[in-house]
Symmetry: C2
C-alpha cells in the first residue's frame, strides 16, 4: 500500500502547486482500491471549487502523425509566447495493437518536461475505458486546482478513448498527415466529425505542397458537415513542429472558439452537460459491472449469448431470461 | 385489451403471408403489457428459424428531401423490375419538432401501398427509443418470416433513431438535397459517416446541375474517410423520383455491397454482432430503468444531479452516493 495523506494534506499540496502532491493525488484517483476511492472522493470535493478555470484541449492522431513532437512544439509555444501553465495528460491505449507507447513518447518531450511551467502525466494503461475516463477527468480538475490554465488530453486516434476524451474537453484537435491513403486508414470513423480543428502536420520542406493540398481537401469536406450546437466552423491548418511554424493559427482557433462559445453560452452549457454525462456514464458502468459479474449471469452468459449471436434466440427474450435469474 | 391469438396461430398466419396476422403480430411486439411481452417472446422464438433471408436497407434524410416520394418510386422499381416483395417499416419520430409526420406520409405512398407485393407499416411514436428499436427489430424478423425479401427501415435523419436503425440494417442509404447550405443543417453529425450510399434527390430539370455538382463534392468528401471493416467504398449517386431516374444505380450499389460483404464474411459477422448489440442494449436499458425508477433514487435525483451539473459534486462521487441508497 503506497503512502496516503489526509484529504487536507492533498488539497493544500495541490492548491500550492506542489508537483509531488499533485502526482500523488492523481495516483490516488487512478487507484481501484475501495478505501482509496472514498479518500479520492473526499479530495475531489475539496478541489472542485478551485477547478474549471482552464481551457481543455483534446489532441488525437494516429501513430506516426508526430503527436509528441507536435505537443512539445505547441506546448513550448504556449509557455514562451503566451505565458501559459500547461498540463499534458496522456491516455495510454489499453490495447497494444498500435505499438507506440505514450510512456515512451514522454521521454521524447524533453524540453517540455524540463520546463517548470509544464507538467506531463501519462495515465497507465487502464483495464477499463471507464477507469481511464474517470481518472483522466479527475486529473483535469486536479491540474486546474494546481493552477494550470491549459490542459492537453492526448490520445491515440484509433480506439474508443477519443469519444470519452471528446466528452471531457472544450476543444478537440485532430492531427492528420498529408498524403492520405494508408495513413488515414488508422483513423476511426466518426473522429473527423468530432474535430473542432484539423492540423496537417509535417508541413515543411518537400511535404509542404501535399500538406497544403490536403488542407484544401479537408476544408472542402468539413464544409459539407452541418454546424453543431456550438455554431463553430471547424478550422483546417498546416503546421510543422520541426520548423515551429503554423502554431499560432492553431492557438488562435482555440481562443476564437472559446470566445465564440463563451459568448453564445455553449461553453458553459457543454461543461454542464459533460458533468451530467459522466454521472450517467458512471451509473451505467456500475450497473453493468454488477450485472455481468453476478454469478448466475456469468454461469449462463456464454450459452445465452451464443444462442443470440447465432440467431436462435431473440436478444430481447434472452435479456428477459437473464433478468429472471436475478433476485 | 385487444384480441390475442395463440403463438401457433400467429406463427401460422405470418408464415402463410397473411397481412392481418402479420400486422397483429407487429402490434403485439409493440405492446408494453407484461403479459403481451411473454407472448411476443414465444411468437418470436417460432419465427426466428424463418427470418434472416432479406436485404435490410435503412433509409434516412431530413424532412423536405422527398423521402416518401423516393421510397414510393424506388419501391415500385424493385417490385416491377426485380420481382421483389417489399416491406417498409417507418419509425415515427418521438419528437414533434420536425413537423412532418410519417403516418401522414403513408397515405402519400399511394401506388406502393396498393400493391399486393408491398407492405407498409408505420411504427407509432414510441415513448422510448429502446421501445421503438425493439419493436422495429422484431418487425423486421416478422416481415422476413412472412416472405418479404427486401425491408426498408425509414427514419427522419434528425434524431437518435438513425444510430439504432444503423444497428439493425445491412445497408444504410442517406438521401440528401443538392444546394447544401441550410438544408444540411438538419442532418445530425455522424450520420454521413454511417452511410453506405448517398443519393442526391430531386435531380431533375433545373436542379440537375446542382445535384451533379453536389455529387462530386460528396464523393470527394467520402473519399477522405477510411474504409470500414466492410471494405466498402460508399457510393454517391443522383436520382429523381419524379422522372424515375437514377434508381437502378442505387439498387446496384446495394447488390454489390451484399455480394462484397457476403464474400468477405462481413455480412454474416455484422448480423451476429448486431444480435449481440441488441442483447447488451436490452440489458442496459432494463438496468437503467430499474435504477432510475427506484424510489430512493428518484427522491434524490434532482438534488444530486443538480449539484453535479453545477460542478459542486464530482459525477463519480455522486454515482457512488446514489448506489449507497440501493439495497
Amino acid at each position: 500500500m503506497p503512502k496516503r495523506f489526509s484529504p487536507d494534506e492533498y488539497a493544500a499540496g495541490v492548491l500550492s502547486g506542489n508537483r509531488v502532491l499533485l502526482s500523488r493525488a492523481i495516483t490516488l484517483m487512478e487507484s481501484t482500491l475501495p478505501s482509496d476511492q472514498t479518500l479520492a472522493h473526499e479530495v475531489m470535493e475539496k478541489m472542485l471549487p478551485h477547478a474549471g478555470k482552464s481551457v481543455r484541449v483534446g489532441i488525437t492522431g494516429v501513430p506516426g502523425v508526430g503527436k509528441s513532437t507536435f505537443i512539445e512544439a505547441f506546448g513550448n509555444y504556449l509557455l514562451e509566447e503566451h505565458g501559459k501553465n500547461l498540463a499534458v495528460l496522456a491516455i495510454d491505449p489499453t490495447s497494444q495493437r498500435t505499438g507506440g507507447s505514450i510512456l515512451g513518447d514522454k521521454t521524447r518531450m524533453e524540453t517540455l518536461s524540463a520546463n517548470p511551467k509544464a507538467y506531463i502525466r501519462p495515465s497507465p494503461a487502464g483495464k477499463t475505458l471507464g477507469g481511464v475516463a474517470r481518472s483522466t477527468r479527475e486529473s483535469i480538475l486536479l491540474c486546474e486546482a494546481a493552477g494550470f490554465d491549459v490542459i492537453f488530453v492526448e490520445t491515440v486516434g484509433v480506439g474508443q478513448s477519443e469519444t470519452a476524451v471528446h466528452e471531457m474537453v472544450d476543444f478537440f484537435l485532430l492531427l492528420m498527415l498529408a498524403g492520405a491513403g494508408d495513413e488515414l486508414q488508422g483513423i476511426k470513423k466518426g473522429i473527423m466529425e468530432m474535430a473542432d480543428a484539423i492540423a496537417i502536420t509535417k508541413a515543411d520542406g518537400p511535404n509542404l505542397p501535399a500538406a497544403t493540398s490536403a488542407q484544401a481537401e479537408y476544408k472542402g469536406a468539413l464544409h459539407l458537415f452541418p454546424l453543431g450546437a456550438s455554431k463553430w466552423s471547424p478550422r483546417v491548418t498546416v503546421c510543422s513542429a520541426f520548423e515551429k511554424s503554423g502554431l499560432a493559427p492553431i492557438w488562435d482557433s482555440v481562443m476564437e472558439y472559446v470566445q465564440l462559445t463563451q459568448g453564445n453560452g455553449y461553453f458553459q452549457q457543454r461543461r454542464q452537460e459533460q458533468n451530467l454525462h459522466w454521472l450517467r456514464h458512471s451509473i451505467r458502468q456500475q450497473l453493468e459491472e454488477r450485472f455481468y459479474q453476478h454469478p448466475a449471469v456469468k454461469a449462463q452468459w456464454e450459452d445465452v449469448s451464443g444462442q443470440v449471436t447465432q440467431g436462435q434466440k431473440s436478444p430481447f427474450a434472452a435479456a428477459a431470461e437473464l433478468f429472471r435469474l436475478l433476485p
